[in-house]
């Protein structure tokens, strides 16, 4: 039995990231963030606190926001993982991405992928979210440049654009 003699086996894991399926060999103690960044090259997934506090590692699993730095990679098995790299189409940025640019909601940029994905999860779930609901929904995402005002403005603007896009 592996493990009993101190031999630890890598595990084969199938992950679906941004619509593409990968088979990776992972150490079971690797976090999802680690696997996405180190094994698959999705470096848009940022790791800052590495303890589930800052939200820069936020990705969506079947549309739901999770903190990938404190999730063991096997928990993402069979789920659709969305990282910031999967948000834009070939020709168009996502309305949230556009709004972040237009509203100067990016300073150092490290929290941005997590902020945008968290905002997407919030607006997909509640397209009419109020500013208070958006602020409340972002409590797990920290911006160390403290640029929250612009971030919230961008999300409020994107909300209107997303409504127009989805009603088309």
């Amino acid at each position: 039995m592996p493990g009993e003699k101190g031999i630890y086996m890598k595990q084969r894991l199938e992950l679906k990231v941004n619509g593409q399926t990968y088979e990776v060999l992972v150490d079971p103690w690797q976090s999802l963030a680690d696997v996405l960044r180190e094994e698959l090259g999705y470096t848009g997934v940022k790791v800052s606190c590495n303890s589930g506090n800052c939200g820069s590692c936020t990705v969506l699993l079947d549309g739901k926001a999770v903190k990938s730095c404190i999730m063991l990679a096997p928990l993402a098995k069979g789920k659709e993982i969305l990282t910031i790299e999967g948000l834009a189409t070939e020709s168009n940025l996502h309305p949230l991405q556009e709004a972040f640019i237009e509203h100067f909601a990016v300073q150092c940029g490290y929290c941005t992928p997590g902020m945008i994905l968290m905002a997407k999860a919030l607006l997909d779930e509640n397209p009419n979210a109020t500013e208070d609901e958006i602020r409340e929904g972002l409590v797990g995402n920290l911006c160390r440049c403290t640029g929250y005002v612009k971030i919230v403005e961008a999300i409020m603007a994107a909300k209107e654009k997303m409504k127009v896009t989805s009603s088309r």
Partner: protein, 292 residues
């Protein structure tokens, strides 16, 4: 973090035989939002991790007419927060869940994990204790039902044996004219751990305005979530006014045993127990009265 061997049982039976085999050398991982952090800090270093997230039969909640609510251990906190049925029949549970971590944590953290990790600041514990909830613990040998009030024995410690799994939480239907309020106090808000957490559950008599039953359960400021029984005793059977609430809150503060920590000195926390207990009692009494 690591190294460890990782197992993914698909049934409760498989999980239980792994637990029997690896016992103290193994840790159960549900969502992992607590465990992964503690493994990374090397506060726990299991040789084996039993990932139970794939045991779908443990992700449910349902209502049994005679016995109230049953919640499978893998039910995540976000589900509790957003369930319209729970909102209607156990309003106090979504009210607790909303104060738990952030959305991205609540999407993953489970009720079973929150209870079994047994942090003094575990948000789900005080209200469940106030509701007289019980935990169903199973091992290969059988099952036992333990009141949550007796489940916690100290920080990170419970009566759960190394070969047991907490599979279900049972919550009796609250009596009519009952309302519950949990309030978590943090210094900077967000998903910070509680500095003080207090749950209260108040029941009024149907005939007069006396409080027939009351629970006050303290979290964080005690080694393990605990009822403030002396404070409960001075309220029970009485007509409640603000003076009595103030008195009960002071007694609850005296019953708490906070420690100095990075999140607040013991004296500060004790004072905050008084304030928060007063506030949750006021809110609960107002709610039950307006509902009458």
């Amino acid at each position: 973090m690591g190294p460890f061997e990782y197992f993914e049982p698909e049934t409760v039976e498989e999980a239980l035989s792994l637990l029997r085999k690896y016992s103290d050398t193994a840790k159960v991982c549900a969502g992992g939002t607590d465990l992964v952090v503690r493994m990374r800090k090397h506060l726990v270093n299991p040789q084996f991790v039993i990932g139970i997230a794939g045991i779908r039969e443990l992700d449910y909640f349902r209502f049994e007419d005679d016995e109230g609510l049953r919640v499978g251990c893998l039910t995540n906190i976000r589900t509790i927060e957003r369930s319209p049925q729970l909102q209607e029949r156990y309003t106090m549970l979504p009210q607790v869940a909303r104060q738990f971590g952030s959305i991205a944590i609540r999407n993953v953290a489970t009720i079973g994990g929150n209870l079994c990790n047994a942090l003094p600041s575990a948000d789900m514990a005080p209200m469940l204790i106030a509701l007289s909830a019980k935990a169903k613990l199973v091992s290969i040998d059988g099952e036992r039902i333990v009141p949550l009030e007796d489940f916690f024995t100290g920080p990170g410690k419970t009566v759960l044996r190394a070969d047991e799994l907490l599979v279900e939480v049972r919550v009796p239907t609250p009596p009519p004219h009952t309302s519950g309020v949990y309030q978590k106090y943090t210094t900077r808000g967000g998903e910070e751990l509680a500095v003080v957490g207090v749950a209260t559950l108040v029941t009024w008599g149907s005939k007069d305005e006396r409080c027939t039953d009351v629970r006050i359960v303290l979290g964080t400021v005690v080694p393990a979530p605990m009822r403030a029984k002396e404070a409960e005793a001075i309220l029970k059977g009485k007509r409640i006014d603000d003076e009595l609430i103030e008195k009960a809150a002071q007694i609850a503060a005296d019953e708490s045993r906070p420690r100095d920590s990075i999140r607040g000195s013991a004296d500060y926390r004790r004072e905050m127990v008084r304030i928060i207990t007063r506030d949750v009692l006021r809110q609960a009494f107002e709610r039950t009265q307006s509902a009458r």
